[in-house]
Subunit: 282 residues, 2 copies
């Protein structure tokens, strides 16, 4: 039961803040560590956290530590502050890439501290506590990425996801997770960004319809977070970029050759596959 | 004034049907030609058209003919039936590519028949009269592509757009139009289709968030219409595909090199440009 545990959130950004607000709303008390005193003060005065500190040593009596830091900051924080974890503490996180982060965090953690990797797939373009919104988890996917974890760690991950109201809770291996986000999330962000960067076509904004706006909505992107995610998953992501640009070139050849039958077949397949993704909408 | 003219729509598909319903609603009587007797009967019994026929000779007393045919069918229909136009008749259309279609239609038309090219940019994934909806024009762009046109032809194009409720009416040259649709519309459809075709990733549908759904919505596509549009604009479109895939490869290189500063700059530019497209939303 989370309610009997001492829980500390690392990082009160948009996601850490949303966790704090969601847990608070469910009657689960949490404390928080952040380098920003103002963020701590805001969370304290709203009652979202019961304690706040800039000192990492604050985790020393925490049963559960939830890192809501960016990937590089998370790995660095653990390396620098691992000595403060108490024996039997459970560490979890929200990081959007898994293999590289899990390898580094597990290598740094002392014996007696267990890490269970989690990825709440809740969209967020804006940064900072001011945009924290515990409702962003409704109907979203919560991915648990277990690796030699205890039943207690697994149960805790599920309990966090349930309390925060996630719609779909799934277990994946680190490889399955990283392949999935490489295609569904990272490739799509590189596409949207590249479409905006290929040329300054802002003079065309007057003629823009919903299609273009839908396709580039995620080109509004956190430029500090995403390059870290791309680099930490670069083997999968670079393969996806190559496969995708190759497919675009194959289609270009069909246009050049005026091969109507082959284009029609491609469009029939894309329509059929896309319908499957529609059906799955939660 | 449209109300004093005899108007005939060619083709009662989703767009021709939407034109008929919209004009009828505004008190403008129209007749229609279609090869599908059932479509004519449906439109007649609903009062959307006052006359319907499968015989092209029906246009012989029409003041205004509005082609809502696919590009190839439009060009072929004009070549085969140009003798039925009366002297002084005005031809307009809805075709999504302009240079190639205007050249072919103008070459085929007899003296005394004027063609004014128009492109109502109203999204439509579904086909057929059953999906016709005169409300799809609200807030949409109506592009007029004049070339040696009379004031009467221009005034008529504006009147049609106003009556149907378009939000934004713009004049472009054939080249400006085709560059614009090549980037905003055709490239984006090739991207969405290629993203669905690159691999069968339907096993990932469970994990899909709004980003992926937004990016691939237009992968649900009319496989008969779009290959024609792609081919008739292939010079511009193939250049856009090359520029876009090259930009994706440039970004891949930044990931490979772990060049955080350069990636951050790309993401800042894409966020800034995307904001401009947001501001312009009607």
């Amino acid at each position: 039961m989370l309610k009997n545990k001492k829980i500390t959130i690392l990082g009160l950004g948009v996601l850490g803040g949303s966790y704090a607000k969601g847990l608070h709303k469910a009657g689960v008390a949490v404390s928080a560590i952040d380098i920003d005193e103002d963020a701590l003060q805001t969370a304290l005065s709203n009652g979202w956290i019961t304690e706040g500190d800039t000192d990492p040593a604050m985790i020393k009596d925490s049963d559960i530590v939830i890192s809501c830091l960016y990937p590089h900051a998370f790995v660095k924080w653990i390396a620098e502050n691992k000595q403060y974890f108490k024996k039997g503490a459970l560490l979890t996180d929200v990081t959007g890439v898994k293999r590289a982060v899990m390898e580094r965090v597990n290598a740094a953690l002392p014996d007696g501290v267990e890490y269970i990797a989690c990825h709440p797939m809740a969209g967020r373009e804006s940064r900072g506590l001011a945009y924290a919104d515990e409702n962003c988890f409704t109907n979203a996917n919560f991915i648990i990425v277990p690796e030699h974890n205890s039943q207690y760690a697994l149960d805790t991950a599920y309990e966090i996801a349930h309390i925060l109201g996630f719609g779909n809770i799934v277990e994946l291996t680190p490889e399955e997770h990283d392949r999935m986000v490489g295609f569904l999330s990272q490739l799509t962000h590189v596409i949207a960004v590249s479409l905006m960067n290929v040329a300054d076509n802002t003079d065309l904004a007057d003629y823009t319809g919903d299609s273009f706006r839908d396709l580039t909505r995620i080109a509004n992107i956190n430029e500090l977070l995403w390059p870290e995610l791309f680099v930490l998953n670069k083997d999968y992501l670079m393969k996806e970029i190559d496969a995708f640009t190759e497919e675009m070139q194959v289609f270009k050849k069909l246009i050049a050759d005026e091969d109507y039958a082959a284009m029609q077949e491609k469009l029939r397949i894309s329509t059929r596959r896309r319908a499957y993704f529609n059906k799955k909408k939660g």
